[in-house]
């Protein structure tokens, strides 16, 4: 792996680091809000990946001059990935909002947003159900 390769792919290294950080938080953290934060970091890494695709070396912002006389020599960056990511950001916000709303409701019902506490409550609910409704596998298997 040459030095140019490493430096030339800088956005990708950032993308991979952020992506793994986000995924790790989602998996490893027991707090439901922190999981949502991890999810956000994970999604942001994808936004970065897309935005880096749009960059063309030497390219300028893809905006036509007012008189619409485009110099054929001008190189423009690709605006399409940016537009896609605008949509993806909106989707991300909707997901975050819905996730947080669910957390509020979970806190109302369970009195906690810690995964181990909630799993414990659900485990006891399942135990109770099994005792009442017959011995059988249940729970979150």
């Amino acid at each position: 792996m040459s030095w140019e390769f490493i430096v030339g792919h800088l956005p990708y290294w950032l993308f991979i680091t952020l992506m793994m950080t986000g995924l790790y938080i989602v998996v490893a953290k027991g707090n439901y809000v922190k999981k949502i934060v991890g999810l956000n970091i994970f999604q942001t890494s994808v936004f970065m990946l897309y935005i880096s695709i749009g960059k063309i070396t030497g390219g300028t912002a893809p905006i036509f001059p007012l008189d619409l006389e485009v110099d054929p020599e001008t190189v423009y960056s690709n605006p399409l990935p940016h537009v896609l990511i605008l949509t993806a950001i909106v989707v991300g916000i909707a997901t975050t909002a819905l996730g947080l709303a669910l957390i509020v409701r979970i806190r109302e019902e369970y009195g906690s947003i810690e995964e181990d506490v909630i799993l414990d409550i659900e485990y006891r609910l399942t135990q109770h159900e099994n005792a009442v409704h017959g011995d059988a596998m249940g729970g979150r298997a």
Binding site: K35, I53, L98, L102, E109, E122, H133, A141
Partner: protein, 512 residues
Amino acid sequence: MAVEPAIEVTQIALTLKEQLPILQIVVPFVAAPLIVFFGSRSLTWPITFAASAISLWISVALLLQVADGGFISYQIGGWAPPLGIEYRVDAANAYLLVLISAISTVILPYARKSVASEVARRHHTLFYACYLLCFTGLMGVVITGDAFNIFVFVEISSLSTYALIAAGAGRDKRALTAAYDYLIMGTIGATFFVIGIGFLYMATGTLNLADIAERIAEHGGNRTIHAAFAFIIVGMGLKAAIYPMHLWLPAAYTYAPSAVSAFLAATATKAAIYVILRFVFSVFQPDFAFQSLALEFILMPLAVLAMFAASFIAVFQSDLKRMLAYSSVAQIGYMVLGITLLTQTGVTATIVHLFNHGITKAALFMGAGALALRAGSSFYDRIQGMGRTMPLTSAAIVIAGLSLIGVPGTAGFISKFVLVEAALDKGWWLVALLVVFSSLLAVVYVWRVFETLYLNAPAAGTIRQEAPLSMLIPLWIMALATIYFGFDTQLTLGAARTAAEGLLAGTTGMLK
């Protein structure tokens, strides 16, 4: 050689017929905010039903136009693809559109009573708005010919699905954590999918599925395209609940309101399987060594594992809805198996099973909901002896249960027969045997339901009354459909063959 489209909309389309593909999406999509805007509970259900019924009518009209193997290309806003977004209707997705809208239209009359008993009254308008959005999303995933557009529609349907599942919280608070778990896994899946699309865009510079396919066919695969393939399969696999990625499904289907379970089980995973089909066969070339290796050595064992492991877990459940959820995971195994065979018969088996399992599972979940309406829950000890107090509901459940096993004369038999035939064609007789053996597990779990319903005395404290007619009629429509499609295979198998031919040979004007 590109196939000429049946109808090409080059300028702004003027006739209603030409506008059908977009109306398919716009009608339910506009109806959803309208419901919330009117805010009237008496108008909510009629608008929802009307939107769903209109969609059904449109999808049937579309299927009739493309049944001979042609396709319709609709350009949104008159922007020509590949730059503009294109809706592309061919036999494969027209078939899925009919399935989704038909199931929705049958479930809605059932949902009225069921939802009234399971969801608080003040939430009804929002509930039906979410339902319509979910419906729009699923239809959109299937109809669109643009890769990024698939992601947007997947998210529309997923976000509303999370809310719909959480609506079950009135009865059991675990609906909330089920919805939360699904939100986390669903978002990871959708994001993986979008990474895959990003890689495809990097490699090909286009988002139009037909265009991507053409460029991959011209230039061959490279590592970026292989990575895209992996991300897309894993992302959509999460949505489709392919075996080790199914963890969100049992809790979600168990605690969601019954009408939602019935709708999702019949349609949501099917739409994801369709996307996988579309990508594996139309966009990527399945004869690429990398793809076929991944399918044969990773997805095939997983599919077989799903058939056994999930069926085995289903046998030991004590709650009808949870049992049905695990059985769904097993049935998805059969569909994935059909894909991994990489033959036309295999794909036919997958597509026909999408349809047959859709109607079967819709009937079973509707039956479970009807039992729960009278028994308070769907635990076996609560619903036991219901064969006597609710004979019509129980009989419908048994008929659909037979179809789940694959007894000759039911729809389930047709799809398993085609699947076994496809496996034998390929010389995978061991796989064919495994399909038959795993069906024996289905016999066990369906027998347990039969035993509970008919061979036990009714539990104390349940309401001994048949389900209301508005629930019975949709339930019986689905139950009779499982028998009807067990005898008349022209519609299902015929359409599935055309669809499979289209996917493999490229009606979509992609490859040849």
